[in-house]
Symmetry: C2
Subunit: 247 residues, 2 copies
DNA sequence: CGGCTTCTTGATCAAGGTCAACCTTTGTGG
DNA sequence: CCACAAAGGTTGACCTTGATCAAGAAGCCG
């Protein structure tokens, strides 16, 4: 539950930024963002990210997290998966309230930035601010896909779609090796993300395995044929799923 | 299908802006936005808003519209309802691609703005740009609620929640009279929004009527007791559902 | 080696979908 | 102003999908 503040990874040498899907920074921008940095936070698997306290925003540096909501009746809906490079906590910093919680799924390392300086960022770094908006629009697009998935797709397609989408996002982050990528999420989390019961997710996975569309084994997802799975699930790869990390 | 370009409503006298939920403009901002205005567009009910052509962005001035996606199998998912003051077309203008379509549900009047000048807006009007981002965050919040609705709520609650949410948005726009507000959407559209069949939406509406939670008659929604419905559906009124229109 | 959590599968049950029919409203042309 | 057509609303009967319950197998950690 408790985050450990540690010696900061210098923004200039941050390895995330080397990834071509992330927006390049001018040296002026980079030094501004460096100045926003408050430190690093390490969370163990299962920990909740407390986001209210100091109006901080975070960039996930390493690991997996989820953004989710819990209903009065106790059931939970996973809104989105947070992967390295993704930003967390913008609503808290800019709107003052949050309506969701963020949990670490694995051990995660986050970069903490001063959310109070966003306003200054908008005044002094318009291009970066614009990228920030674009990143939101891209996330919105993924959210739209999730709504469509939940509202109008069958169980097997839902599971297949979600896993394929995750693989594509991991691919952008150079986290795919050959036909396989890490898949630390549990059946229960899969279920809470696609709006099914854990048991039914099993049935869906079995069917996907039977059809040779994908396989999860030992926390690893393997997709033999991307096209086949994309066709089966109706997945369309969105060009430019690049984003705008603040780190 | 064809929009009619007409004599522009002057931004300075735009009645939408008088509504307190919309962000106030400085006179400098107002004159910049006035300069972005390309004209007005009137769409008949059922018309599709073509958003690709000139990288325009639009503010809905009057009427109702939907943002939706159609799947390969022909079924349709309504992503969101567009109400007066809402902005349409940001993805087309800023990302260059769109993955959804916008249809007019009733006769609508839209204000067309030059999307190409957003970049300049970010450079010269940082505060307005920030509001633009905040408006996206608020929309995202509504989208998160929709995901939760689709993933983890029962049929009757889904319908009740959606209608209550719409009423609250209409309230912000001064479109609620007493316990009633206009509700031009059809059963089919309701169904495509909440991920149910038309027939089952009927069953849900019947139950809501039986429980005295709400009633739709003659294109009018009546909610006798807001609290009761909010409790039944788990709806929580989000403070500050204000937004940032460009008009 | 226990004691935990997660995975997996079968059996049964309920929520919601589909089909089909009939009714009601709206809109249009004579 | 009426007649008729078309679109939307409403309901019942039946079927499919996915939820729930229950129990055993397989990892994982002290």
């Amino acid at each position: 539950m408790v985050g450990t503040s540690q010696a900061a990874v210098a923004c200039r040498t941050c390895t995330l930024r080397r990834n071509p899907v992330f927006r390049g920074f001018s040296s002026r921008e980079l030094s501004f963002v460096s100045g926003m940095k408050r430190g690093d936070i390490v969370l163990p698997a299962g920990a909740k990210l407390t986001t209210e306290q100091r109006s901080s925003i975070y960039t996930l540096y390493e690991g997996w997290a989820v953004r989710c909501r819990t209903l009065p009746n106790g059931s939970r809906q996973i809104l989105d998966f947070v992967l390295p490079g993704d930003t967390v906590g913008l609503p808290a910093a800019l709107l003052g309230t949050v309506d969701h919680t963020v949990y670490a799924l694995t051990r995660t390392v986050l970069c903490e930035l001063d959310g109070g300086r966003i306003e200054t960022l908008f005044h002094k770094h318009a291009a970066l601010a614009l990228s920030l908006l674009q990143a939101r629009l891209i996330e919105q697009r993924r959210t739209d896909a999730r709504i469509t998935l939940l509202g109008r797709m069958g169980a097997t397609q839902r599971v297949g779609y979600l896993l394929l989408e995750l693989r594509e996002r991991l691919k952008d982050r150079n986290l795919v090796t050959g036909k396989s990528c890490p898949m630390p999420i549990r059946r229960t989390e899969l279920a809470d993300a696609v709006g099914l019961s854990k048991v039914h997710v099993m049935r869906a996975l079995r069917e996907l395995r039977t059809r040779d569309l994908l396989q999860i084994e030992a926390r690893t997802l393997t997709i033999p044929n991307l096209r086949k799975l994309a066709h089966f699930t109706g997945y369309v790869h969105a060009r430019g799923d690049n984003l705008c990390p603040l780190l």
